[in-house]
């Protein structure tokens, strides 16, 4: 290399290093920047099409609904506020409709019913980020695009398939297209569907009106599989056999289709799942949402079972033709004998689906602009003002000219738009923030939309109630955040390191992180409406049939022993060691369940909800009194009391040792509990199993000592031991349903707005999947006595009857109507409401007191937040979380934050781990 070359190289290197050291700084020290991350990058954020949570991320900042829920002043629930609307919905009386309106939307019924036509007054200050006013016509045109059959937009069904059913929306969306629809409801009295193709499909995983007609609207699932599964053992032998044959035959057909590469796969079923399927009973109910043409049963070598079992051995299999399937369908439907046409010759069509060519629809859409700033909604179904506000808390508004400009012909026919995908210029914001940078797979940046009305209207302020905030007691503007900078970080460890270095303001924690940050005061948890429990088999006969030799299982039939097992588990420890973010719980219903949908009042915060812990654990966990001796005990929390646990185990063992019943425990036996789990190799399951075994072994060792001291066991007698035996069983709920277990983890949850409905899984006699085998089927003959109506007299009813009463018989009606009417109507509403809550709390306590269902944790995910920000509340509120970005306060601006990080030498991990809990 000559001197000239060396000099050039040197200059180049110096220049590059110089550039590196004086790179432009994008930080403005006075800004409030929220740095966060996603592990996967969204590919689009089109409100008409989004499918995954990531795809709804951008619009959660850049768009806003007509109404929104905000944390209430008491910080324990939510209030509705107007955003893109200027007032709450105003009902239009049917009598006020013009003839033209009635003819367009309600010609068949003659007129609309009450609560079917609503006016929405729009916010006149709302504009796009470029300053263009948003008017009623924009909403109408946006909805036309949303429902346009050529686009086949994924979210179209939000406007005809739920509470909000816009008149003609479904007809417009399906206009001229072939769609597969449930035959039920379309069949005429001759058993034909007008305009059908003559092709009928069976789909066990898709909801059908046939099943919801039998189960009722509130059922969590209305798929034919659910009906077959739940009703199979309640009917005749022929009905049971037909149900088994249909389920096994359909599952076998899917196995064949998988091998042919014709399954579509969803988030529920993946090829790797299907690879493991060797018999129909391996096919999960979640994997059955496939339309199979009935004639396929003649084309493929489909098999099903001969007898009423899932035995898939060669001897129990037979060919399943279309004729055989039709016959089984007919048998099952006739035996159900529910629903129109169930005894007719065409009854086999009732649970099926058929391909319908939808007529071209030329009618009007049930959304009109009355004037520039008034929208009128014509609905096909009544909706309460509250439900309408819920439904309109999201939006369908798009910048229609840009949307159409970015539209092109799809390769499969139809149209597609690039609106709200891939680049900032493909999108227009109108919410509190505007999108300013989008690099798929790398970074998304949003900044304050200065054109947003909320920064100027004086309505978006709040008073801070948080002693950790420098704004405590002050009234400040909502949406303090200036910039949201979202990085795509795929590696969890990198995200944690970035958080610890002060470059991210939140981090999701996994079970390993919990060891370090489990006790941090900066940790907050987002809860799900699921409670993870141990469900025990308490049926003596069943347990006796499952034990042999020196192994005992019948001890679980003893209620004191079960109580001892429950008291032996430290739920806080369990949550910390075996979960990532779940919270110790002693309840069947966690904090998310709402007692009052309109106010957001949590069931757990009602006086009835608060009584449950005392009813169950008053003298157990948390008590300072030894129930046996009256001596003082160390106080524990959350249903954990090791000393009492040993006493109850000893009591149960003593009773059973003295029992002469065949199969009862005897000296020298060891207790072994079969524990079917979904995945025995899962880190969480192993951690949970280890902790439970250690807890129970410690408790039973103490119980042995008590038994020795009481002379029940001799000094030389071997003590009792207990251990669980994990068994991999991906269908363990079915095992539990049949009593083939000693314990399982059962995880039930449901709609947070309906706590009463969830009690079905515990209290309803006919519910097939109850996990507590010893109690299952006995709910109708096990009684609870209490004064539900507070009239001074106690009433006695079975668990089943109390459930039916609170879930079905007692109906409060619409809360807001009652409040509006006031007086006697409101008093009546309150009376029934209190009765329902009284029953709910007593049924919950009643089930817990049996100690067959032993709650461990309320499921949730944990995250840490940086010192930069404070949430509006420490209490998790349904729908609102901890107050959201709207009421988040920034304790440091970017400059001050940078200084703080430097003062910690760029590593805040110790500070976060040691951060104290907040008030």
């Amino acid at each position: 290399m000559n001197k000239k070359s060396a000099a050039i190289l040197l200059v180049s290197a110096t220049t590059l290093i110089g550039l590196a050291s004086c790179g432009p700084s994008s930080n403005n020290n006075n800004l409030h920047t929220y740095n966060t991350y996603l592990s996967t990058s969204p590919t689009n954020w089109n409100v008409h099409n989004w499918q995954t949570a990531d795809e709804s991320y951008v619009q959660s900042f850049t768009e806003i609904g007509f109404y929104d829920t905000v944390l209430n002043d008491a910080r324990d629930g939510y209030d509705f506020v107007t955003e893109m609307a200027s007032a709450f919905p105003e009902m239009v009386a049917p009598g006020d409709l013009s003839d033209e309106e009635v003819n367009a939307f309600y010609s068949e019924a003659g007129n609309a019913d009450e609560k079917m036509v609503w006016d929405i007054k729009l916010n006149k200050d709302a504009v796009w980020e470029d300053g263009t006013p948003i008017k009623a016509a924009d909403y109408v045109q946006s909805m036309q695009l949303q429902l346009d059959p050529d686009y086949a937009n994924y979210r179209a069904d939000s406007y005809y398939n739920g509470n909000l059913v816009i008149a003609n929306a479904e007809k417009i969306y399906k206009s001229g297209r072939q769609t597969i629809e449930a035959a039920y409801g379309h069949l005429n009295n001759k058993g034909n569907v007008p305009n059908d193709s003559g092709i009928y499909y069976i789909n066990l995983g898709r909801d059908t009106a046939y099943v919801s007609n039998i189960f009722g609207e509130d059922a969590s699932s209305s798929s034919f599989y659910t009906l077959l599964n739940q009703r199979a053992s309640k009917g005749s032998d022929a009905m049971e056999l037909a149900a088994k044959r249909i389920t096994n035959g359909f599952a076998n057909m899917l196995m064949i289709k998988f091998k042919q590469g014709k399954l579509k796969f969803t988030s529920e079923d993946k090829p790797e799942d299907w690879e493991k399927v060797s018999k129909p009973s391996d096919v999960k109910s979640d994997w059955m949402n496939y339309n199979i043409d009935l004639t396929e049963f003649d084309n493929e070598e489909v098999m099903t079972v001969k007898t009423n079992s899932d035995d898939w051995s060669e001897s129990n299999r037979t060919r399943y033709t279309m004729a055989a399937l039709k016959k089984d369908l007919s048998t099952f439907v006739a035996a159900m004998n529910r629903g129109e046409g169930s005894t007719a010759s065409y009854n086999w069509k009732l649970p099926l689906f058929t391909l319908i060519t939808n007529d071209d629809f030329e009618g009007q859409m049930g959304l009109k602009a009355i004037d520039d700033y008034t929208l009128r909604l014509y609905l096909a179904k009544q909706i309460s003002s509250l439900d309408l506000r819920f439904a309109l808390s999201s939006n369908w508004l798009v910048k229609t000219d840009l949307y159409e400009k970015l539209t092109s012909q799809s390769a499969g026919g139809g149209l597609q738009t690039k609106y709200a995908s891939n680049a900032v210029e493909n999108y227009m914001s109108y919410g509190p923030y505007k999108l300013t940078y989008f690099e798929a797979g790398k970074e998304i940046k949003m900044e304050k939309n200065e054109k947003w009305y909320g920064y100027k209207d004086g309505k978006h302020t709040f008073t801070v109630h948080n002693s950790n905030s420098k704004f405590n007691g002050k009234t400040i503007d909502e949406f303090q955040m200036d910039v949201i900078d979202t990085k795509i970080i795929q590696t969890h460890e990198t995200a944690v390191a970035e958080f610890e270095a002060g470059r991210l303001d939140d981090i999701d924690l996994n079970v390993n992180d919990m060891k370090k940050y489990g006790q941090s005061g900066r940790r907050s948890t987002t809860y799900e409406s699921y409670t993870q429990k141990i469900s025990l088999n308490s049926d003596f006969e069943k347990l006796a049939s499952r034990q042999s030799g020196s192994i005992n299982k019948t001890i679980l039939a003893n209620a004191d022993f079960r109580k001892g097992l429950s008291l032996a588990i430290n739920r806080n420890e369990f949550a910390a060691q075996a979960t990532a973010g779940s919270k110790a719980s002693t309840n069947l219903l966690n904090d998310l369940y709402l007692a009052n949908n309109a106010t957001g009042e949590s069931y757990r915060s009602t006086k009835q909800g608060k009584t449950v812990y005392g009813s169950v654990y008053n003298h157990l966990g948390g008590s300072s009194i030894d129930e046996e001796s009256g001596a003082a005990l160390a106080e524990d929390k959350n249903g954990f009391n090791a000393t009492l646990a040993a006493q109850y185990l000893a009591k149960g063992l003593k009773t059973e040792l003295e029992s002469t019943r065949a199969g009862s425990i005897s000296k020298g036996q060891s207790i072994e509990l079969d524990f079917p789990v979904y995945d025995e190799k899962s880190a969480n399951t192993i951690a949970a199993d280890t902790l439970i075994n250690a807890s129970w072994t410690a408790a039973i060792t103490k119980a042995n000592a008590i038994l020795v001291s009481e002379g029940v066991l001799g000094a030389g007698d071997p003590g009792f031991s207990i251990k669980t035996k994990m068994i991999q069983d991906q269908d363990y709920y079915t095992s539990a349903k049949n009593g083939a277990y000693e314990m399982i983890f059962s995880i039930w949850g449901g709609a947070a707005i309906n706590p009463y409905g969830l009690m079905e899984v515990y209290a309803k006699t006919t519910f097939e999947s109850t996990c507590e085998y010893g109690f299952k089927g006995h709910q109708g003959s096990t009684y609870l006595t209490f004064d539900y109506d507070e009239d001074g007299t106690e009433e006695k009813k079975s668990f089943n009857d109390w459930y039916e009463m609170m879930a079905n018989t007692l109906v409060e009606g619409d809360y807001e109507d009652a409040v509006k009417a006031g007086g006697a109507k409101l008093a009546e509403w309150s009376k029934i409401h209190e009765q329902k809550l009284n029953i709910l709390s007593h049924v919950e306590a009643g089930i817990l007191n049996r100690f067959e269902a032993i709650p461990l944790v309320a499921r949730g995910t944990s995250s840490l937040r940086s010192f930069k920000i404070e949430n509006a509340t420490d209490t998790y509120v349904s729908l609102i979380g901890y107050g959201g970005i709207r009421k988040m306060t920034f304790e440091y601006d970017d400059g001050a934050w940078s200084d703080l990080v430097k003062s910690y030498n760029g590593n805040l991990s110790t500070a976060y781990a040691g951060a104290g809990a907040e008030d």
């Binding site: 110089g18 432009p24 590919t43 994924y154 579509k264 796969f265 390769a411 891939n422 798929a440 470059r503």
Partner: protein, 338 residues
Amino acid sequence: MSKTKQTLIYILQRLALMVLTFLVIFFICFALVRMLPVNPGQGMNDPETFWKMMVNQGRYRKVGNEYVAIPVLEQLGTFLKQLFDPTFKGSRLGYAYHVSGYWLESPASVLFSKMPPTILINIYSVIFSVPLGIGIGIFMALKKNKWEDTVLSILIMVTISVPSFVYAFMLQYLFAYVWQILPAQTASASAGWLSGEMFKSMLLPVLSMSFGSIAGYARYTRAELTEVLTSDFMLLARTKGLTRTQATVRHAFRNSLVPIFPMLLGEIISVLSGSLIIENIFGVNGVGAVYLNAITTRDYDVFQFVSMFYISIGLIGTLVVDISYGLVDPRIRMGSSK
């Protein structure tokens, strides 16, 4: 036959062989990918549209109400026809159903849009590793069998034995979190590809990728130079009065470059390829992520296109390297003559 003609024939033969190899690999890849189950639930608004696309692209045909896969050979025929048909409307190479930001983008535009950061990192890596690797190699050769050589040889063996992602995590931990000198993640495109911020953010991935190359060049250069330095002509050069430096630079180094130069050409061509792991660790929004995403999301068209693209790069690289031997050293004769 003249030497030029012989060389041309050799190059043409190699080109033909390259095309043949490409076609064989392409066909195997095509057949295997087309035999995989398709996923109508992915990316599309409704499965029916997906199936229509499959029909339009000659992959499936509708028989009754069923969509039946067309035999692979027939699919290949349709694919080639569409590829060279100037009147065909649509993406000739298939579609990115999931990886793309747009739903139905061509796999080629998806790949090429992710090229800049990958190419940049690789160029920096070449600039960094080649001089350093060769320099260390020369130093070791000159200090052959002395303690400096032994220490560096051990270090090189250790470096070659340890996979690059280990350095990547180590460097990230030390530079980005312990000493906080460099960012842990590469900057986004908004910083500008040639900006100082981008360069600084790319230093860690560049270093992680360079260690292996530096060690490789150093070892190779040392071996070649050692051999040349002990040649008779070196003795002659010294005896005719050249200093040790003059003899090393003018005679030994130039001769030792003959086998090293083609290696450099290969390295330059491979700047188009990304590293799955390094890109993932440092958040490089490059082609490595596209390839990985194509596999995990079963985006077959993208997977096939990216695979074939890199196979082409590999084949062209090998060809250029082979041909360059003859160009660099006239003593090497290309082709055979009877």
